[in-house]
């Protein structure tokens, strides 16, 4: 899942859960049935889980584009100064 996919998944999750909660509450209140409210909300949670938890292809439509290898070679990674003295120091102790 890419960065934009992660943002989409989070927003989708929050929006869907809130929407289902509102629908469930109104339906339950109007029908006078607490059970109806819980069933609608439970269905909403299951659906939201199925949509936002797995790594679906539509969460991967904005892949990160890394620099080309040739571009990276023009700016070589700085080497660590030296690792020699430390080794010598440890040898002296022995």
């Amino acid at each position: 899942m890419d960065w934009q996919g992660q943002k989409l998944a989070e927003q989708l999750m929050q929006l869907m859960l809130v929407a289902f909660a509102v629908v469930a509450f109104i339906a339950g209140y109007v029908l006078g049935s607490f059970q109806t409210m819980l069933l609608i909300y439970a269905a909403g949670v299951v659906l939201t889980s199925l949509i936002t938890i797995p790594n679906w292809p539509f969460f991967n439509r904005h892949p990160l584009s890394w620099l080309d290898p040739s571009e990276a070679e023009k700016h070589p990674k700085p080497q660590p100064a030296s690792s020699g003295p430390k080794k010598k120091a440890s040898k002296k102790v022995n």
């Binding site: 992660q6 989070e10 909660a21 509450f25 339950g28 209140y29 409210m37 909300y41 938890i53 790594n55």
Partner: protein, 167 residues
Amino acid sequence: MHSFGYRANAVLAFSVTILALICGIASFSDNFNSPSPDAQVRVLNINWFRKKPDGNDEVSLTLNISANLESLFTWNTKQVFVFLAAEYKTPKNALNQVSLWDGIIPSKEKAKIRIHTTNKYRFIDQGSNLRGKDFNLTLHWHVMPKTGKMLRDNLVMSGFRLPEAYR
């Protein structure tokens, strides 16, 4: 939101938070219901009235209880517990309550009660104070919601009097 487990955790946490919230609102919605139950109790007969060997008075009554408790029920009501108590004053205690009958009403459809019964639980005074005693019959109810706080209230019916002599 980078991994399966992280997203699963987020969905679970947020959905349970919202569930708590809608349960809270459901509980709050009970405030819009203003119940107006009514009840009548008649004492049809005093079957017997005696002093027990240990000195306590005991009386047996035949009661006719009719009540309409439908207005106590809302969409958030699980059940209603209802009991009828005899309440009277003695020199020792300002309020004595003796439960005579009780019942559980599981649904609005069963909230119209019409019962003809002797007292389900024994009406015994702690002492010998019942002769010629004026007493109230009070219908108490506890409304048990599916979520939220249990509500309790009662309806006092006064003007009952026990006989002057044992029989």
